[in-house]
């Protein structure tokens, strides 16, 4: 059967039949308030803001690739979005050596990819070998396998993944779709082929991908290995999930209002306020990883003076930012990590412009005639090259920060630039102020993004104490030791004002009232395995 989203008759018939069958074995549904019992069948149409460009999470670093990829590929372990704990998924159990260099996984039995081939140790090896292979041109996943030396198959259920140096972040990384398992047979046609379609062991399969338009996922029959925190086991409820791409915020919320789509993803906060008012449920989840933060280059004169950096961090009124630009739908960041990231420690202090001005006075930078501070003829200024066009109104945020800092006599020179230019200047170390947020539910993200160039956009923080704390966290899988290391890292960042956390990026998903069972994964992206449509 062709997946015809323009054939309502067939699409409606199946849920109707399914509903009849279900009605026979479950409690009668409530007539008006809708059924509380999930009803299988139906199609969910979701509009999202960006096209992943490549569907394959092994290659693409895009969050958009995770949104669809998570439904198609399963991972060795799963991260419980409730508490961040790592629980069995395709691996039944695992052990880690004390140095975090060898991970032994025992695979669950009876699991198959949607092409029928078994999820066997050889498949695990084929996946990791492929990601680490430079020919795959992996932009993010390969960085998660830093130090990978190989996978050994031992027995028919056991694999050992080895690293040349400690990689404690690997277990969490293995829970993401970036390191999800795909059917090895699909690798044969080369990396380009898996950009167009991926084959995994997940509850959905890729039915259609039209770049820049839509991605259609179809339910896979016989799915029996959902992670234990899922709301149900067995096949997904939805027969089909169609993700359409509409980059314009207004188009997404307008399509939801008009009933063309069932769910609007990545809703702008202002639209969310309006949609809530009109009665559309808006689900929100703070994303895990690095909060949207500003960085002041601590090796550039005069910003190597910690007093100046502290003053700047006190002068930026984050409460005003989240209220003005995000209608308080996003929250103020409490640390360089977001609260949903395991290892989070609140470090932020209350912003105060008067205190910031006093600190700048004390540091010996008097206010000049034009309101900008200067010393020995040098103006106290920060050049800030940021990516434009920007998402989440970050261009306006930059202008607001510019005015907030101007109020205490610090000049910010804004330089909106294409993403390539921003990356280039940061790679050269030629930056004074920078901004970043990063999606990942493990504190090791601080090391991979801020200490190496693996993240792609590196505002690298050169600080020995920080590097030691992050290395300690990466060298063990002992939760208590890791937590302590990351607390120290966050304290160091706050104390030295190496980063100025601004807001917690938050996924806002507006749905129509018939959509039930929306869940978010540990990274903070919506998942549709438990979702059903009540109509």
């Amino acid at each position: 059967m062709r997946l015809g989203i323009r054939r309502p008759v067939r699409a409606l018939a199946i849920p109707a039949v399914a509903a009849l069958i279900l009605a026979g074995c479950s409690a009668p549904s409530e007539p008006s308030g809708g059924s509380a019992t999930p009803r299988p069948g139906g199609t969910l149409t979701l509009a999202t803001d960006s096209d992943p460009g490549c569907l394959d999470p092994h290659q693409s670093p895009a969050a958009a690739a995770l949104l669809t990829g998570r439904g198609v590929v399963d991972s060795l372990v799963a991260q419980d979005p409730g508490n961040g704990a790592l629980v069995p998924w395709l691996a039944e159990s695992w052990t880690v050596d004390p140095r975090a260099t060898a991970y032994t996984f025992t695979l669950r039995t009876g699991v198959t990819f949607s092409d029928g081939s078994p999820v066997a140790p050889a498949a695990v090896k084929a996946n990791f070998d492929r990601i680490a292979d430079p020919a795959t041109k992996s932009l993010l996943a390969a960085g998660m396998l830093a130090g990978y030396t190989g996978t050994t198959v031992s027995g028919d259920r056991t694999v050992v993944v080895r690293f040349s140096r400690p990689n404690a972040g690997f277990l969490q990384a293995a829970s993401t779709a970036f390191l999800g398992l795909q059917a090895p047979a699909s690798f044969a046609a080369g990396p380009q082929a898996t950009c167009r379609t991926i084959v995994g062991s997940g509850p959905f399969t890729v039915a259609e991908y039209v770049p820049q338009q839509r991605i259609a996922l179809a339910r896979r029959a016989g799915y029996r290995w959902a992670p234990r925190f899922a709301a149900h086991q067995g096949d997904a409820f939805l027969e089909k999930v169609v993700v359409t791409i509409a980059s314009d915020n207004g188009v997404r919320s307008g399509s939801l209002r008009s009933g063309q789509i069932d769910a609007a993803g990545a809703v702008a906060p202002r639209d969310a306020v309006a949609l809530e008012r009109e009665g559309f449920p808006v689900h929100r989840r703070e994303q895990a990883g690095i909060a949207y933060s500003l960085f002041v280059n601590s090796v550039k004169e005069p910003w190597d003076d910690v007093a100046l950096r502290r003053a700047v961090s006190r002068a930026i009124d984050t409460a005003q930012i989240v209220k003005t630009l995000y209608q308080d739908r996003y929250t103020r960041a409490g640390s360089v990590l977001t609260p949903t990231t395991p290892g989070y420690l609140a470090t932020s202090t209350q912003p105060t412009a008067t205190e910031a001005a006093r600190m700048l006075d004390a540091a010996g930078w008097p206010v000049g005639a034009d309101g900008i501070r200067s010393r020995a003829g040098k103006r106290l200024s920060l050049r800030w090259s940021y990516v434009s066009p920007a998402r989440e109104q970050r261009d306006l945020l930059a202008q607001l920060v510019q005015q907030q800092l101007r109020a205490v006599g610090v000049e910010v020179l804004l330089d909106p630039a294409p993403v390539g230019d921003v990356i280039a200047s940061q790679s050269r170390g030629d930056w004074e102020m920078s901004d970043i947020s990063f999606l990942r539910a493990d504190a090791d993200v601080l090391r991979t993004v801020l200490q190496s160039s693996a993240g792609g956009r590196p505002p690298i923080i050169p600080d020995g104490t920080l590097a030691d704390a992050l290395a300690a966290g990466a060298a063990t899988t002992e939760p208590a030791v890791r937590e302590d290391s990351y607390h120290r890292a966050q304290q160091r960042i706050a104390e030295q004002a190496l980063a100025i956390p601004v807001y917690n990026p938050t996924y806002l998903l507006a749905v129509n009232k018939a959509v039930r069972g929306i869940a978010f994964d540990a990274q903070g992206l919506p998942q549709f395995y438990d979702t059903w449509v009540d109509r």
């Binding site: 207004g250 202008q399 005015q403 909106p416």
Partner: protein, 282 residues
């Protein structure tokens, strides 16, 4: 609208005089814009960059004649301050196109043969591309700043001026007084300055007035696409672009900068047409 389209008029179209009210209205619009360019600080009710988060996205009225943007900045003040960038970029671009185009046209018209053929084929190639596309190409090479914006837009309009001036030079060259001057031994420079330029200046200048409107439109389009000045400064194209994100809730953000561009271009075009009717050789 391209400059070429502005230049071309259907030959059979009846020539109607512009009603005086249109001319007076256009003049008043341009005077107002000029006043904004010269003394924005006196005319703007608020500083253009002063943020007021509590007054964000206020609709027109409420002490802000044209409303406020997402950061509570007064839109009228930003439009008034933005006029300087928009108008100066348009004017600089037109001046560049006029001077360079006239030079190319003069050289091509005076030295016929190979020089003419080569120059005019270049002009043909430039005319084959839409001006906006040329300007985009130039911006891609030069990078974006108001100066470069003016250069890009100016360069993209050189060909139109060159074509017009060359045609006029060819026409004037064969006039008896020019031939008489040539015969009586006037040197080429003198011939050019005293006899050719004064007689082709009219059409070129009236085209420049039209061209100014087109250049402003083009530079606004480029700013709209993100090649404008650095924030927080904003010209009209940038202001219109910035309003797009919240068009559903705040219609005024994109509308008024767009209206500012539109009426300025229309007023310039009306005056340019009138000048063309007066000055152009029938």
């Amino acid at each position: 609208m391209t400059l070429l389209a502005a230049l071309q008029r259907r030959p059979d179209a009846p020539r109607r005089r512009m009603p005086p009210a249109t001319l007076i209205g256009s003049g008043l619009v341009l005077l107002t814009v000029l006043a904004c360019v010269v003394m924005p600080d006196l005319l703007a009710p608020h500083p253009p960059d002063a943020v007021a988060p509590d007054a964000a996205l206020l609709p027109p009225g409420h002490g802000h004649l044209l409303g406020t943007d997402e950061l509570g900045r007064d839109l009228l003040s930003r439009i008034i301050h933005g006029s300087r960038l928009s108008v100066l970029v348009g004017a600089a671009a037109t001046l560049l196109a006029l001077v360079a185009g006239t030079l190319v046209g003069l050289v091509a018209g005076l030295f016929d043969g190979a020089v003419d053929a080569v120059l005019m084929r270049f002009v043909d190639i430039m005319l084959a591309f839409p001006a906006l596309l040329l300007a985009l190409g130039a911006i891609a090479v030069l990078g974006s700043s108001p100066t470069r914006l003016a250069i890009a837009v100016g360069v993209s309009n050189i060909a139109t001026f060159a074509r017009l001036v060359r045609g006029d030079v060819l026409r004037v060259r064969t006039r008896p007084y020019v031939m008489a001057a040539t015969v009586s031994g006037v040197r080429p420079a003198g011939l050019l300055l005293r006899h050719v330029l004064p007689n082709i200046g009219g059409p070129a200048l009236s085209l420049a007035v039209l061209g100014f409107g087109v250049a402003m439109l083009e530079s606004s389009s480029l700013s709209f696409l993100g090649f404008g000045p650095r924030p927080p400064a904003a010209d009209w194209g940038m202001l219109a672009a910035a309003g797009r994100a919240n068009l559903a809730e705040a219609w005024w953000l994109s509308t008024f900068p767009g209206v500012a561009v539109a009426i300025t271009v229309l007023a310039t075009t009306a005056l340019g047409r009138a000048a063309q009717d007066r000055l152009a050789v029938q």
